[in-house]
Symmetry: C2
């Protein structure tokens, strides 16, 4: 085997023990809250049939799906089974195009290369028919349809798994990253929207990360377009106002002006943005602005119900904000739209979600309403790290290291170490009789908080030198005394 | 979007909530024991550079590596950037081979197809330069070399992640499955072998699954070959005796006879298999059979030390068995060889491992000794399922469901449900006012142990109908009384 300088693919990461522990702290917090609200975990395979994924994420998305080669022995297998027979059966016209593209003396122009690509397209399924999971939503829809007869609806599920996208890697954007989704399908009750807001509130409260939870409703967006008398420009309007955060009111004005929204239409829109009062009051005022829009009024009513359920079930730590600019791409939301933003740091959203009416329709199961949220674990990690919010407790590693200087010491320490482990104390014995300095450096590097030194004196007296690595304090204690000390 | 009947790729699995909970029980048991012995978690990316993986698993292994397409837009990108330029620059001889293979009127024979494959081999790196993780060992070696300056040795790491193999799927063999590995690198202390045996013992004790832990040493196998005066047939001998379990002594005899082992050599070998007494006594008798073999005696000494450390550190629940037939493929073990087998059911090994001397050498870092073990999580799952050893506790889901009959009931239940959750009781409120029967069926299907029914009477009196779904018993209690009941 040739020696090689190892590296990992761009956009992927190794996680060292400290990072795994911190990530685990985030995932376990989310998981515990999900379960407290009755959400149950499922897991789906890392790769799906390519046909399950293609056509679900738009043309751009399709290009970012990581496809897996069918055969470990690609060239030989594809060639002999598909490529060669395929070439032998090509029509004369296609043969001619290929020959001319390959011709080194007189090559054809690019237009032929496109035709060339078209000719070979039928080969693709022989090269790849599986692909890595791109998100957790489409596999969930596929799961619900496949297992509909085993599932009791409403089905509350959560899923915490990695997804892969062939995006250009950049700071904070990875080709392998984790999604944490909770969805309920099979009920259109607004109780569920309320619970999902509570889940956000509880997770971020536990993480001690102050957030604002923004709420909107797709129906209100429709209503605003109706009130503006601009339903034909619905998509333009929502795309424009979704950028309010970044470009401000002037930016939105400019954008909509370019899209043909008149000044009087713009004035109707601006009224929605300038509403004041409590969140309920804002909704009531917005209702007055809706004019004849039935859908808009329905959206207002839905949000009022969610706020009412929230207040009935108690206070939240997070700020709840009605936000008529919130659209979140709109690709499939039909009701509530939810987004979480940190309030003490400047950073994009930490999660979002909403109500969708026909997720499973793509796999032939119609009429299943759902609502769900997602946590952006990688961004949460960055914020918690910036704000130094990972608790010491989450990084707990080995509690105590036995340090010995000879084989006799090791043999003395062995039964003690085992006794400590019986008491569920995470314990190491330095596996060889190295110099004290080296063993202490090991404890330091690994952030082991306590060290027990086994020298000749200690073995004679049974009183062991028990050192607190943080304070430097050292005491002579028996094994049992140390155990009760550590279990305090 | 066209509707499609969904399916998943063969060899992969969906895990439903119950299965996820059971798997989690296994993983958490293993994880907790690993950490109790000071092992720390790392995680590596799901895909590695193809060059990191190829050449590490033999020719057969290489074919089973799942390779990922470089481009989402394969045909167009590969064609325009590589295929067409490549074809234009082919030598005349290769051009001729290709033309003749493609010729539909007068196609060439298979020999040309092989040449054809050779011609296209250089294209492979443009098609795929990443591949899914095939095991956790090579990525670990790659990790140690890449991060050697951040790591304090001896480095105890564990890793619980899925791996992928393009094996033919069959019962119990999947294309996506999970490995749970613990390894220490940077120390040749036999204390570590002892600890790994203890980890096996502790995990299977906690799972209440009786196992035997088999121990051997590669040096003893070398010693046996020397004692037989058949060092030239070392590989044949170990392959043959590794099958002792399946084919019995007669099978081994036959196999070795075919490989040219004489009757007198066979008699030397058989003496090793017929040793009796305690495990230590077997080792001592085997030492007597080693003759002049220094390496064999060293292997005996190593195993005796491991047994000595084991007995010093206390009793084990598992049977510890010296087993001179154990070889485990031998691909890279240099010292101890370990394997775990269930004792109450007929099934293959549940895990194995051993000492290897130069794992990181393939990435240019020599002289790092390591020892490690692996748990076969999928097989453990099957055994625990067969023996009904998953505890009820591991399947805990929602604890209590609030059942309401109208909006008023729901509004009454909302603050109560939230109070329950504050007490860390996993609580659901059926999200709409359905018939009692439907809501009870939901609780049954989801195995929710307690139901609280909110009717008009209950709202008036504040005493709620608290039903135990297992016993059928129903009592009228206040919310606070139910909380203290549930927290018992």
């Amino acid at each position: 085997m040739a020696k090689q300088k190892p590296s990992i693919p761009s956009g992927t990461r190794d996680f060292n023990p400290e990072t795994v522990a911190k990530r685990r702290y985030i995932f376990e917090t989310i998981r515990t809250v999900f379960e407290k609200y009755g959400y149950q975990p499922i897991e789906t395979p890392s790769f799906e049939n390519l046909s399950t994924l293609t056509g679900k994420y738009g043309d751009e998305g399709d290009k970012l799906i990581f496809k897996i080669l069918n055969s470990g022995n690609l060239i030989a297998d594809v060639s002999s089974q598909f490529f060669i027979p395929f070439m032998r059966e090509l029509k004369d016209k296609d043969q001619e195009i290929i020959s001319s593209v390959f011709d080194s003396k007189n090559p054809r122009e690019n237009i032929y290369i496109e035709e060339f690509g078209e000719i070979f397209k039928p080969l693709l399924k022989h090269i790849s028919e599986r692909a890595l999971r791109y998100d957790l939503t489409v596999p969930f829809a596929r799961y619900v349809v496949m297992h509909q007869n085993e599932i009791t609806f409403p089905f509350r599920r959560y899923q915490i798994q990695p997804v892969w996208r062939a995006d250009r890697p950049q700071k904070g954007r990875y080709r392998e990253f984790w999604q944490c989704d909770a969805d309920v399908v099979g009920s259109d009750s607004l109780i569920l929207e309320m619970e999902l807001v509570r889940i956000y509130d509880e997770v971020f409260s536990q993480l001690k990360l102050p957030v604002a939870i923004h709420l909107n409703n797709r129906k209100i967006l429709s209503g605003i377009a109706e009130a503006m008398n601009a339903t034909d420009k619905f998509v333009d309007i929502t795309i424009a106002i979704d950028k309010f955060d970044k470009v401000g009111l002037q930016g939105v004005r400019q954008d909509l002006h370019n899209k043909g929204i008149s000044e009087s239409q713009m004035q109707v829109l601006e009224k929605f943005f300038s509403l004041t009062g409590t969140e309920i009051e804002k909704l009531e005022k917005a209702e007055g602005l809706m004019g004849d829009s039935e859908i808009g009024k329905l959206g207002i009513l839905e949000l009022k119900n969610v706020l009412n359920y929230l207040s009935l079930s108690g206070t939240t730590n997070s700020e709840i904000k009605i936000d008529f600019t919130l659209a979140r791409g709109l690709n499939y939301y039909t009701g509530a739209i939810i987004e979480v933003k940190p309030v003490t740091v400047q950073m994009g959203s930490l999660g979002g979600g909403g109500r969708y009416d026909n997720l499973t329709g793509m796999f032939g199961l119609d009429g299943v309403s759902g609502v769900g949220i997602s946590f952006g674990a990688d961004r949460m990690y960055d914020v918690l790290e910036d704000l130094k919010l990972f608790p010491e407790e989450s990084l707990k590693t080995t509690q105590v290291l036995f340090v010995c200087f000879d084989e006799k010491g090791i043999e003395f320490a062995l039964p003690l170490a085992q006794q400590f482990r019986k008491e569920n104390i995470s314990t190491e014995l330095y596996p060889s009789a190295e110099k004290l300095k080296k063993q202490m450096k090991y404890a330091n590097d690994k952030k082991i908080p306590f060290v027990i030194v086994i020298g000749d004196e200690e073995m004679k007296s049974g009183k062991l030198a028990f050192k607190n690595m943080n304070s430097g304090e050292q005491r002579l204690l028996s094994g049992d005394e140390i155990i009760s000390e550590l279990k305090k």
